[in-house]
């Protein structure tokens, strides 16, 4: 049973469709690395309440939190872990939740020329809607937080659980898209620039279009956009620099993109889309993890050898046939996934537990059982 080796990796990004257990896998990978002695940060997005509990986080606090590893370490020492089960007391695990809105506010405060300018932006209507609902913002903020975490030299391994984006590229492309919006010539032409003649054909056309839109829709976009762009002036360079660093970090040798999926037919198709999108974005897929795979089925011969009523044996055979059909369905999915695997990437399986993961030891168990397909 060959394990997943992330020893040379500093940053692991878990990507995948919604509902496949990205957060669980992220936490399991982080926990495994911490128990083996590395200094680990795991950043989760929108975790299930139980995972929050397991990681010692609560619904309101987004501050990094040290996870108590004593119980998991003791269990790992006692257990029989022939390969890769080494433990070390040196490691630590910090868990944190991503709060897009708070992070965005913090960035604006950092880049804004003055506290007053920062507050003007934060109170603006466009910004309020952007920070609250524009899908790209959560993605962008995850990237921002990553830059902060990677800046700490003591941290040896960082695991990032990504927002449930419908497409991997939404997440990876977030810095560029936000910049494109801020930088768009058309938008910046709308901003009133004191001391400069800002007429011109493009400007007038854009204004006319927005004014017409406002008239029919009842919005006040023209004014809002003008205020937004004006407030952001002077902050653009700060954002651009961060975006360039984020892009470089994502493509570093020590960064691993890990696609997480389950074996359901629909999810496999989505995972294939993710893999293709990562390729187009020039990102290496380190591995693909299929979560919640079925365990080995029991031996049918046992039924025949057992001393049992014939009716019960028939039912056991039926049960085995039923689950074998599901196992075949799963194998068909694995084949489809193998066909979509990029060169150099590893296909791994994370077998299902008997119950939904709810404790640190559940996460440790999941992490320990991830193996090559």
């Amino acid at each position: 049973m060959k394990r997943l080796d992330l020893g040379a990796i500093r940053l692991a990004i878990c990507l995948g469709p919604g509902g496949v257990g990205k957060t669980t896998i992220s936490a399991a990978l982080a926990l495994g690395a911490a128990v083996s002695g590395r200094s680990v940060d795991v950043m989760t997005v929108d975790p299930a309440p139980r995972l929050l509990d397991a990681l010692g986080l609560n619904a309101r606090v987004s501050e990094p939190h040290d996870v108590d590893l004593r119980g998991v370490r003791a269990a790992a020492r006692d257990g029989d872990e022939p390969d890769g089960g080494k433990t070390s007391a040196r490691g630590r695990l910090r868990a944190m939740r991503l709060e897009p809105r708070e992070t965005f506010d913090a960035i604006v405060r950092r880049h804004a020329p003055s506290p007053a300018a920062a507050e003007a932006i934060i109170a603006g209507r466009i910004y309020r809607s952007l920070a609250g609902a524009f899908a790209g913002v959560a993605d962008y903020m995850a990237m921002e937080k990553l830059l902060e975490l990677t800046a700490e030299p003591a941290t040896e391994f960082i695991v990032l659980d990504t927002p449930p984006a419908s497409e991997a590229i939404d997440f990876l492309d977030a810095p560029r898209r936000l910049l494109a919006l801020l930088d768009s010539r058309a938008v910046s032409l709308l901003a009133p620039r004191p001391g400069r003649f800002s007429g011109g054909v493009v400007d007038m056309a854009a204004r006319a279009v927005l004014a017409a839109f406002d008239r029919v829709t009842g919005l006040k976009l023209l004014g809002d956009v003008q205020a937004f762009v004006k407030n952001f002036e002077g902050m653009y360079e700060g954002f651009a620099e961060r975006a360039r660093r984020a892009a470089a970090m994502l493509r570093a040798e020590s960064t691993a993109a890990i696609v997480v999926t389950t074996a359901e037919t629909g999810r496999i198709a989505q995972a294939g889309d993710f893999i293709a999108a990562l390729g187009r974005a020039d990102l290496r897929v380190h591995s693909v993890i299929v979560n919640r795979t079925m365990r080995e089925l029991p031996d049918g011969l046992e039924i025949e050898r057992a001393k049992m009523p014939a009716a019960l044996k028939r039912k056991l055979r039926q049960n085995l046939t039923d689950y074998a059909a599901l196992k075949t369905r799963e194998a068909i999915s694995f084949d489809a996934l193998r066909a979509a695997m990029p060169s150099g990437a590893t296909l791994l399986l994370a077998p299902e537990l008997d119950h939904e993961p709810r404790t640190l030891s559940d996460l440790a168990q999941i992490g320990a059982q991830i193996h090559r397909a």
């Binding site: 058309a186 829709t217 359901e264 037919t265 198709a269 009523p309 056991l316 085995l320 046939t321 008997d354």
Partner: protein
């Protein structure tokens, strides 16, 4: 009370929304013409299940009584502009303007909002022709955001066309004859909890009715308690047998929990088949059709 004209299918990721949406559409199509609308044109999983890979915006007929359509946010924006700006040249110019593109992209929820307006129109058209509409919606969290968007639009547009549309969208969503939600669940604690929370949020914050919860992948029973006990000499087989019966029991318990919350639960049996394709979806649809009239 009559079943809602438009049924919006949502649930936790991984509970089989697209399968259930396709099965519900098949079930309804056994009685009258039905349209299955996919809100995610890139994936159109429900359409694929019915063997109809969608390519364009036009509906595809997959059976005598069943059509599938993919809804596209950009197309909705264009249709909206054509509607509110009567002069074609002007609406074209607005759509072509880069500024307008940036601003509408940054204006959260506008596209989602127009998608809801489209659903309202589809439900109205369907009522005239006595058809039904089934929507393969997004996962619970996104669905709640989507269905809440009209309120946000009223906030940013206190008057004008958008405000008027927001009002009509809200009354559409609150009208149980026109709009109803079908929740998908599997016999797992998290999925059940998420469905109950979503139903409560829809009812309390938006006045939206949940028509039913569809419990997907319910194992067919096989072993009695005494039989499970008799399996002690074969622990691995016993484990597999218990798993089946435990999952079955979890589904039964959920029925009580949902009924407590005033929600009917319909079972969809786990199909022990190596493939999940159109034949299986139609089989699920037939079992659902038997329970539909009771809704």
């Amino acid at each position: 009370m009559a079943l809602a004209r438009l049924l919006f299918v949502t649930g936790k990721g991984g509970t089989g929304k697209s399968t259930v949406a396709a099965a519900v559409a098949h079930a309804l199509s056994l009685e009258r013409p039905t349209l299955l609308a996919d809100l995610d044109p890139r994936l159109s999983a429900a359409a694929m299940l019915l063997g109809a890979p969608l390519s364009g915006a036009a509906p595809v007929r997959v059976a005598a009584n069943l059509e599938v359509i993919a809804l596209n946010a950009r197309a909705e924006l264009e249709a909206f502009m054509r509607r509110i700006v009567p002069v074609a040249a002007i609406s074209r110019r607005m759509l072509k303007s880069r500024t307008f593109g940036y601003v509408t992209a940054a204006l959260p929820g506008l596209e989602a909002f127009l998608m809801l307006e489209r659903l309202r129109i589809m439900a109205g058209d369907a009522a005239l022709e006595d058809r039904r509409v089934v929507v393969d919606g997004p996962a619970s969290g996104t669905a709640l955001e989507l269905l809440s968007v009209a309120r946000g639009v009223k906030g940013i547009a206190p008057a004008g066309a958008l405000n008027r549309i927001a009002h009509s969208v809200e009354s559409f969503l609150r009208d149980p004859e026109r709009f109803g939600v079908i929740l998908t669940v599997t016999p797992e604690e998290l999925a059940i909890r998420e469905a109950l929370e979503l139903a409560a949020a829809l009812r309390e914050h938006l006045g939206i009715a949940t028509v039913a919860a569809v419990m997907n992948r319910v194992p067919t029973p096989l072993f009695s308690r005494a039989e499970l006990d008799a399996l002690k000499p074969l622990p691995a087989h016993r484990h597999l047998a218990e798993r089946r019966e435990h999952t079955r029991a979890a589904a039964r318990r959920a029925r009580r929990v949902f009924s407590h919350a005033g929600i009917r639960m319909l079972d969809l049996a786990m199909l022990y088949r190596p493939t999940m394709s159109r034949a299986e979806v139609e089989e699920l649809g037939v079992t659902l059709a038997a329970e539909m009239p009771t809704l």
